[in-house]
């Protein structure tokens, strides 16, 4: 059976995304090659789609990160959380710690994905600091041994995460590829953004210490007293 123009139009995106079987692909190509109506259409659509893929992502304004930090560490955000928290966690979840603790949880989620821990089997009780502490075991200790620098360097987490999704195509269009002229004009904003990230990192640290101290499990590895 050879394909009609309608067949071709219906399967256009699957062709461009390489989702057709080799046999289908051959049928598709055979029709397009010979059809004066379909050929320019396929070419135009292919051009549009690859232009979309090359489109650089828009940079969110630096104040946005700041706003998110402010709001998520505000009283309103903390109140909703507290009601559902077990008693041992309550003192930790002051507004000041909320943001950082949440970030730590995200970090744990990312880490646990990388380490193959299934969260479907994890209950809230398992998030008790001592459980977390033990469950994270040597690997986290090892990471932690590298000290504050590791926690400060969120790039490690980002890298882990990008390794989890290696096949995502538009990651290539991250802003590192900005031309130099562009970079210069963005430097002050960049600095502000870095500052926001710094605050975030400090909060992560505070939250981490908050959790461990709260439970009496002591200080991070290497500093536990006998």
């Amino acid at each position: 059976m050879s394909w009609t123009c309608e067949h071709v139009e219906q399967r256009l995106s699957e062709y461009l995304d390489r989702l057709l079987t080799p046999a289908e692909r051959a049928e598709f190509a055979a029709h397009v090659q010979a059809c004066p109506r379909c050929r320019p259409r396929v070419e135009h659509l292919g051009g549009v789609v690859s232009a979309l893929h090359r489109l650089a992502p828009l940079e969110p304004p630096p104040r946005l990160v700041q706003r998110i930090l402010e709001q998520t560490s505000g009283a309103e955000a903390a109140r909703g959380w507290r009601r559902r928290l077990p008693g041992w966690l309550l003192p930790v979840f002051t507004p000041r710690f909320a943001m950082g603790a949440v970030t730590v949880m995200i970090a744990f989620l990312v880490l646990s994905q990388a380490l193959g821990i299934s969260w479907s089997q994890v209950s809230l009780a398992d998030l008790h600091p001592s459980h977390l502490y033990r469950a994270a075991d040597r690997r986290l200790n090892l990471l932690y041994a590298r000290g504050v620098k590791f926690v400060n360097d969120l790039r490690v987490i980002q890298e882990l995460q990008s390794r989890l999704q290696p096949a995502t195509p538009p990651e290539g269009s991250e802003p590192q590829e900005l031309p130099p002229a562009n970079k210069q004009s963005e430097q002050p904003e960049q600095r502000r953004q870095n500052h926001a990230d710094e605050i975030l990192h400090h909060r992560m640290l505070l939250a981490y210490f908050g959790l461990t101290l709260q439970n009496g499990t002591g200080l991070p590895p290497g500093r536990i007293r006998p």
């Binding site: 659509l45 828009l58 969110p60 990160v65």
Partner: protein, 169 residues
């Protein structure tokens, strides 16, 4: 954090075409993500997919809300006109060079129906694959395929009308 902020912000901006709304929505997404972090399960697809789902649900809520606010009855035909007005609101800072195509794409996107628009944005601007989009939209695989395809064809037609003919890479 910045990476997620950028992803969410782009998704919101491409869907609404409005920088202020995109900012507010991104902030709202973060709040919702933090509140519902407990419901996240790694087995249900990646973290990125999950965040995209949260964002998408919020966008749909927002879309319905703003449609109710602006139209007393369901006059779906009027939507493209209204949304084009929205798109004249301030845009995010961007260099002139890469801005033009980006803005033409934005104008064309806003003329698509929300169903087709979100499919194209998730696939071609957020880089999700078909399976992930199926996860985010909660519709059958065939529907995902057909929405992506119809969305792209419609977008290509609109861009052609605007005289935009990008050459393949």
């Amino acid at each position: 954090m910045r990476r997620h902020t950028r992803r969410i912000y782009n998704l919101c901006y491409r869907f609404t075409g409005n920088a202020h709304e995109a900012e507010d929505l991104t902030q709202e997404v973060f709040l919702r993500v933090y509140r519902t972090l407990g419901s996240y399960r790694a087995v249900h697809g990646g973290f990125t997919t999950w965040i995209a789902s949260v964002t998408r649900n919020l966008l749909i809520d927002h879309y319905r809300r703003s449609r109710r606010d602006r139209l007393t009855d369901s006059l779906e035909e009027v939507l493209p006109v209204i949304e084009q007005k929205e798109s004249s609101a301030p845009r995010p800072d961007q260099s002139a060079a890469r801005g033009e195509l980006s803005q033409q794409v934005q104008r064309a996107l806003l003329q698509l129906s929300p169903e087709l628009r979100e499919a194209v944005v998730l696939r071609d601007l957020q880089g999700l694959d078909y399976k992930e989009i199926q996860e985010v939209l909660q519709v059958p695989e065939g529907t995902v395929k057909s929405r992506i395809n119809r969305g792209r064809i419609e977008l290509a037609r609109l861009l052609e009308q605007m005289g935009v003919r990008p050459s393949p890479a």
